[in-house]
């Protein structure tokens, strides 16, 4: 903190202006506080932590004046909420930066986030909801010598809980807008090409001979668009690094992503194909869980909005995976046969993933299909405005989830079918009621589930909800929950209480098991 103030004072002196004038810059920020008081709950085996009160707090401040900006982020975990790593306990100014930016040059010293391409090779980002923050601490330069060339370089250490890890990471990235470079004007065809190199160094003091202290990765990517068709592709290669996460594999890492899209009048289609082989890339070789991740390997599946559809979430298998998904979006126009008076939207998705084939016991074959299905999901959603006050959403999901392969390494399927009816009814111009009924059918795991939700809102300030998720035929547990939210412009208060089921939380190819808890939650978020 002292550092940040020192920086502000130095900037003031540099400009030789009074402190009054410095206030003419823009000072903005945000504050977020999530607090839960936990109870013992014998029914769900949810245990009250030793410190029954968990509290995660974030304060962010940014100051901008002219070409300069500076900022900080303060975080306090007293104690960390259930599901967050206990090592986050404490409080610290974790993020501090100063930045100079004009139209062609941007220099940041201190902490920064960055992404190269789609993040397959490098992405440093923040996902507060699951306690993930992979911010870098070092120097970042972004240089645009001409409008069609974008160059980036950085070097630094990566955040590890409230401190920095020991690995040093450096990277460069370049992108060229080829059609603009040739014609220098508006083109109907777009062709962008880019490439990156990312390298990590961490001293090795162990006894294994020829153990790599440096891990290098490079990537090439392109984006093409003409008329109704567009296409994105990216390829990555990474040198070997045996770690606990890849069972000490000597394989090199590879990733290929191919994503074409077709769009038309009221229709859109998007396809993703991706193959991953030994692609876990971290800034410390000993790192586990959601820490020190250098790249971003999300599950390329439909991200479901409904509770029961998220009971069995797929997480990308960084070790080896091949598959893809196709999405179709279509709108029936107003006054058409199926569209009716207000039109109707339909969307469908099919996702499928399999493991890779093995060349021998240790090495997988890139772009091959193994013998194990990991995940399959077919889902369709219908969205219909029936009258000026009534909207109905219907969803059907057919999911095959290889719990064995995803969670423990075996082969143990959960085949489920989920149906959702979601109705929104407008009582008058300000108040409305929304209700969800969901059902999940399966013969495996914990058998059938049913879920109900009622939500009443009074615009623009109040909303209140109550829900129950009930497992019948196996545990017969009700997961009741209810709460109240108050919003005033950009400030939101929320109080809720209820039972939460244990489950998997997956981000960027890494899944964490979160324990069950029962508690009262109070949160406030605001920005200024």
């Amino acid at each position: 903190m002292k550092k940040a103030f020192l920086i502000l004072i130095l900037l003031t002196l540099y400009y030789q202006v009074s402190f009054g004038q410095i206030l003419n810059g823009d000072l903005t920020g945000s504050f977020e506080s999530n607090n839960i008081y936990y109870f013992n709950d014998i029914t769900t085996n949810a245990l009250q932590p030793e410190n029954p009160f968990g509290s995660n707090n974030y304060l962010k401040l940014d100051y901008r004046k002219g070409l300069f900006s500076a900022g900080i982020q303060y975080e306090a975990y007293l104690a960390p909420l259930v599901g967050y790593n206990p090592l986050l306990e404490g409080n610290e100014f974790v993020f501090k930066y100063i930045q100079f930016a004009n139209n062609y040059l941007n220099i940041t010293a201190g902490n920064f986030y960055e992404q190269f391409g789609s993040g397959l090779i490098f992405r440093s980002f923040e996902e507060r909801a699951i306690g993930l923050n992979t911010a870098m601490d070092g120097v970042r330069i972004n240089f645009k010598p001409v409008s069609y060339i974008n160059l980036k370089a950085f070097w630094g250490k990566q955040r590890k809980y409230l401190k920095n890890g020991s690995g040093v990471v450096r990277g460069i990235d370049g992108e060229i807008d080829i059609m603009n470079a040739i014609h220098q004007d508006q083109n109907s065809t777009i062709l962008l090409m880019g490439g990156s190199w990312v390298s990590r160094f961490q001293t090795y003091t162990g006894i294994v001979e020829d153990y790599p202290s440096t891990v290098d990765a490079w990537s090439a990517r392109m984006q093409f668009e003409h008329g109704f068709f567009s296409f994105y592709s990216e390829f990555v290669e990474k040198t070997n690094e045996p770690t606990i996460n890849n069972q000490n594999s000597q394989e090199i890492g590879n990733a290929l992503l191919i994503s074409p899209s077709f769009i038309g009048n009221n229709i859109g289609v998007n396809i993703n194909f991706r193959c991953l082989k030994n692609m876990e890339f971290r800034s410390e070789r000993e790192a586990v869980s959601h820490t020190l991740l250098l790249n971003y390997l999300p599950a390329l599946t439909r991200q479901h909005k409904y509770a029961l559809a998220n009971l069995h979430p797929y997480g990308a298998m960084a070790r080896g995976e091949i598959g893809g998904q196709i999405d179709v979006f279509y709108r029936f126009n107003k006054d058409s046969f199926l569209g009716g008076k207000y039109g109707m939207n339909i969307s469908a998705n099919f996702s499928y993933y399999q493991n890779l084939d093995y060349r021998n016991e240790e090495y997988q074959k890139f772009l091959s299909f193994g013998d194990k299905k990991l995940f399959q999901d077919f889902n369709v959603e219908l969205e219909k405005k029936v009258s000026s006050v009534l909207k109905i959403n219907l969803s059907y999901i057919d999911m095959q989830y290889n719990k064995g392969a995803i969670v423990s390494g075996g082969n143990d399927f959960i085949n489920s079918k989920i149906a959702v009816v979601d109705v929104q009814y407008k009582l008058n111009s300000r108040s409305s009621v929304r209700s969800e009924i969901q059902h999940l059918w399966t013969k495996q795991d914990e058998k059938n589930w049913v879920y109900g939700l009622v939500e009443y809102s009074f615009a623009p300030k109040f909303s209140v909800f109550a829900s129950d998720m009930f497992n019948y035929g196996y545990t017969n547990i009700h997961y009741l929950s209810g709460g109240f939210a108050f919003t005033h412009e950009v400030t939101k208060f929320m109080i809720s209480a209820g039972r939460h089921k244990e489950g998997l939380e997956c981000v960027g190819g890494i899944c964490n098991q979160v324990e069950a808890y029962t508690g009262i939650n109070f949160s406030i978020t605001t920005s200024f």
């Binding site: 401040l61 939207n345 407008k426």
Partner: protein, 160 residues
């Protein structure tokens, strides 16, 4: 905790002193993947609404569909530009182009895949709306969406 409170109070008191905040200059992407600066958002003829949303965010989709349904009627009463910035990361950002085509939404779309703009505007969660006046100043901000909120947005626009 005490430190946080002191800082919080200090910020709010500083906030009272300062002038209207401006839209920061940040690079984001258009749907073709090209880099675009937020500078180009400011319009000298009309106010601009910037809506932050995501393909996986239920209230965001409801809000966008609602505004899309009344968009033409609103434009007849008050001209304004509507920019929708998707905060989807690479898990779902490749779907944005086909989703908006398939929904037939009449807005200008941009991508903020590593949340650079969202962070610069200190947005905690989506949906989030801001209105920018002809000078590029942020004159209205709103977090979240409940049915009926759109009427308050439109009233604010008409008052500008």
């Amino acid at each position: 905790m005490k430190k946080v409170l002191i800082l919080f109070i200090a910020c709010i008191s500083l906030f009272e002193l300062k002038a209207q905040k401006k839209l920061p200059k940040i690079d984001i992407q258009n749907l073709k993947g090209q880099i675009v600066s937020t500078q180009s958002f400011v319009s000298s003829d009309m106010p601009v609404v910037i809506s932050f949303w995501a393909t996986w965010c239920k209230p965001c989709l409801v809000e966008m569909q609602t505004i899309s349904d009344v968009f033409d009627d609103w434009q007849k009463e008050k001209a304004f530009k509507f920019i929708a910035v998707s905060t989807d990361d690479s898990r779902s950002s490749s779907k944005v182009k086909s989703l908006v085509a398939g929904k037939g939404w009449p807005f200008d779309f941009y991508l903020d895949p590593n949340q650079d703009l969202k962070r610069a505007l200190n947005i905690n969660m989506v949906p989030f709306l801001i209105i920018i006046n002809k000078e590029g100043e942020i004159v209205y901000e709103h977090s979240g969406y409940t049915v009926g909120d759109e009427e308050f947005l439109f009233k604010k626009l008409k008052d500008l």
